[in-house]
């Protein structure tokens, strides 16, 4: 797919295939639109974050530039572009300049393997999941570079925290990825999505009860991978000023920012592909539409689902306090890792022994719907439990 389009373009301009022109062609056909997409994802996510946080906090958020502040991020971006390019005096200049590129590239490359729809994928690698897990952790190197080169103790603290955290959470994250691979029998993200074709209950999350746990583990671990609250220790504002990007300003800071939101989208998209049927809408009649229309609908479905997960990430960020470093490690190594190992084993056993049948998926959906309906009661109960523990006096109005 990738090469056919590029080759087609090259043929059109009567240029030789292979070599430099193929590279330029690939950049023009694939890299440029993806860069645009990442930028738009960044812009929209930042706007969403500001709006969601504002509404959570009884505020309005940006309202001035554009309708409901839609263009505020753009204005901020232009402001950041116009800023002076500052490098601290004793910083390691080369690493300092390289770090944001490294972080951005790690996020950017991941987009290559994410299917927007059946055909809209840049590189349908057979080891797509592996690729994403591998390049995703490159981001930690960029963060460490940023922290080290800044020659600032706060930055260094942030960098070391980032390295600790990302390396640890890689393990449960990868195990959660393997769960999807086990169910689909393939590492290609397109194959994994297609294995979830059919009605909504064919999605992997409804395949067996352990997938649900695996998704939670994946989500928690992906929050830690993105360094999002409650795992935002590397850039903990109240502790480390700004963590690894304390010394960054202007466009370099903007690139860090963009990479963070790009990464949020990537982990959400991978989560959607692995657990929520990727671009499939869960209705066979819609998924059956082929051609350009079908692919466009698929891309729409995929982006919507991913942004829903991104919104959940934001929701969590603006609600929860931050965990301490030792608690972060405890959570990963004492809870997530063993649970994910056991779950993976059980999923493997389930895959081997239980036939896949729709009734189970329907039952799962029903059980989950019931669970959601009880959510409020469960939440109140949890609050009551800690209230009794803390014996707060009853307040009369």
């Amino acid at each position: 797919m990738t090469y056919t389009i590029v080759n087609h373009v090259l043929d059109y301009f009567e240029l030789e295939q292979g070599g430099l022109w193929s590279l330029i062609g690939a950049i023009a056909v694939w890299a440029a639109p993806i860069t645009g997409f990442v930028a738009i994802v960044g812009l929209v996510s930042i706007w969403l974050e500001r709006k969601i946080s504002a509404h959570i906090q009884c505020r309005l958020g940006p309202m001035e530039v554009g309708p409901h502040g839609l263009l505020q991020t753009l204005a901020d971006g232009i402001k950041l572009l116009g800023k002076e390019d500052l490098v601290p005096k004793n910083a390691d200049r080369a690493l300092f300049a390289l770090a944001p590129m490294m972080v951005f590239a790690a996020t950017f490359v991941s987009f290559a393997c994410i299917p927007f729809s059946e055909k809209a994928i840049i590189a349908d690698l057979d080891i797509g999941i592996f690729f994403i897990a591998a390049v995703g952790s490159l981001e930690a190197i960029g963060v460490v570079m940023a922290g080290w080169s800044s020659n600032n103790k706060w930055s260094l603290f942030g960098a070391v925290r980032a390295a600790t955290q990302v390396v640890s959470y890689e393990i449960p994250l990868s195990l959660a990825l393997l769960a999807g691979v086990l169910c689909a029998g393939s590492m290609s993200l397109v194959d994994i999505s297609q294995a979830q074709g059919g009605w909504i209950w064919s999605w992997f999350i409804f395949r067996n009860p352990f997938m649900w746990i695996m998704f939670l583990i994946y989500f928690i671990a992906s929050l830690a991978e993105c360094q999002r609250a409650p795992f935002d220790l590397p850039e903990a504002e109240s502790e480390l000023v700004s963590g690894f990007h304390t010394e960054y300003s202007g466009m370099r800071f903007a690139i860090f920012f963009l990479a963070e939101y790009g990464k949020m989208y990537v982990v959400s998209a991978v989560g959607v592909v692995l657990f929520f049927g990727g671009w499939l809408s869960g209705i066979p009649a819609i998924d059956g539409i082929g051609g350009i229309t079908g692919n466009l609908i698929g891309a729409g479905v995929m982006i919507t689902k991913s942004f829903l997960l991104v919104c959940v990430q934001m929701w969590i960020r603006w609600t929860l306090p931050r965990i301490r470093l030792d608690q972060v490690m405890d959570l990963c190594l004492k809870y997530l890792l063993p649970i994910s190992l056991v779950c993976l084993m059980l999923i493997a056993v389930w895959q081997g022994l239980m036939p896949t049948f729709d009734e189970f998926g329907i039952a799962m959906i029903a059980a989950m719907a019931l669970g959601f309906m009880q959510m409020r009661r469960i939440y109140r109960k949890a609050i009551e439990a800690s209230k009794t523990r803390l014996s707060l006096p009853t307040m009369k109005v």
Binding site: S238, W318, T319, L325
Partner: protein
């Protein structure tokens, strides 16, 4: 980096690590003002912390020796700028004690109402910023939403939002009319359910409890030895509240409790206890305000025995009031002229912050922020 030589490996074969000196502040988001802590760390563990103060020093005590008694009142506003009413009250009580004048009853009630409103505002800020120190940003804005309502009421009463200069020697600056009293009453009705909202959002949050329980444990003995007062002392389980123990103004007439920490989530005297004491004190303040609103009667709002330039007789006086941060004391020495011969201010936050290095030892870097937040320091008062 240079490669690791054999010298840098200790006898156990481990790579030798060094301690790091971390300079926290004076410009740091969590030091609540211009406060500097130099932390010696071993990785994330704090070995030692040393606090440096004085960045906000502005010779408050010396200024008060050079202006007359009335003119000194606005300077007291700037001490604990989050609870300026309490500072005004403390100073006014000291001068009144020196001059031996009685303040009209209505003035006393108005003083109690505005002071308790200020206390709620101050605790709201303490709780909100504490949540922010722990990493939860939303409770901060919830607290500010309600603090804003208090500031609006105080602005209506005296025209200022932060530095009021309202409680004057011999009474208060302006009277509170019926509409203002109604505003206060409505605020009380509005506010109590909001406390439960903060609890749902922050107090009962598992992460919050994990972060604050068993962190920065201050034993009652150490708290007393360091002269800690206010929520910091009460968080350690010592029920000392000047409003109860040595009632000034009309506090003796109100029925309220003194919340103390009891180690609900962990050890007695940990950050959570100090936080919880503040949370409960807000409820007690609402109780006091309601009683004051019920008891307040018509009458003059200031005594006419005090002239614009009061001249107390020779002598000295010490008064202490329970401010949001603890015991705020004013010691006045008069030489018979219209300016004080000496004014010494005992600021609660100064004593409270002196315990910081002891609490920080052995904690993690993230805990240092939690501990500073739980001490609830105001630099305007520490540096004076």
């Amino acid at each position: 980096m240079t490669e690791i030589s054999t010298r840098e490996i200790d006898q156990h074969g481990d790579v030798k690590t060094e301690e790091m000196l971390l300079n926290m502040g004076p410009q740091h988001p969590s030091t609540h003002g211009v406060f500097r802590v130099v932390i010696r760390t071993d990785g994330e563990i704090v070995i030692d912390a040393e606090s440096h103060i004085g960045y906000l020093h502005r010779c408050f005590e010396k200024i008060c020796e050079n202006v007359n008694y009335t003119k000194a009142t606005p300077y007291t506003d700037r001490l604990d700028y989050l609870m300026a009413m309490g500072n005004n009250l403390g100073y006014a009580l000291a001068v009144e004690k020196l001059m031996d004048v009685e303040v009209p009853e209505r003035a006393e009630y108005i003083r109690v109402i505005v002071t308790e409103l200020s206390r709620i505002a101050s605790h709201l800020l303490a709780i909100g910023t504490y949540g922010m120190d722990i990493g939860a940003i939303t409770p901060f804005l919830y607290c500010f939403r309600d603090r804003e309502k208090i500031l609006f009421i105080l602005e209506t009463i005296c025209g200022q939002r932060l530095n009021y200069n309202y409680v004057r020697i011999g009474g208060v600056a302006y009277d509170m009319d019926a509409a203002m009293l109604t505003m206060v009453r409505e605020f009380c009705d509005y506010f109590l359910p909001r406390v439960m909202e903060y609890n749902d959002l922050l107090t009962y949050n598992g992460i919050f409890i994990e972060r604050t329980a068993n962190v920065g444990v201050l034993t009652p003995e150490r708290a007393i030895a360091f002269g800690c007062t206010g929520p910091v002392l009460r968080g350690s389980g010592v029920a000392r509240d000047l409003r109860k123990d040595a009632p000034y103004s009309v506090y003796g007439r109100f029925d309220f409790e003194v919340p103390v920490g009891s180690g609900e989530a962990g050890t007695t005297g940990d950050c959570f206890d100090r936080y919880m004491v503040r949370m409960r004190e807000m409820i007690e303040s609402v109780k006091i305000i309601r009683q004051a609103l019920d008891q307040i009667a018509d009458g003059p709002y200031k005594t006419d025995k005090i002239k614009s330039k009061p001249k107390p007789n020779k002598g000295d006086a010490y008064t202490a009031v329970e401010n949001a941060r603890g015991e705020l004391g004013f010691y006045l020495v008069s030489d018979g002229s219209d300016t004080a011969f000496r004014l010494k201010c005992r600021s609660p936050a100064f004593s409270n912050v002196s315990v910081l290095h002891e609490l920080c030892r052995g904690a993690m870097v993230a805990d240092v922020v939690a501990i500073i937040g739980s001490l609830d320091i105001v630099m305007g008062e520490i540096d004076r």
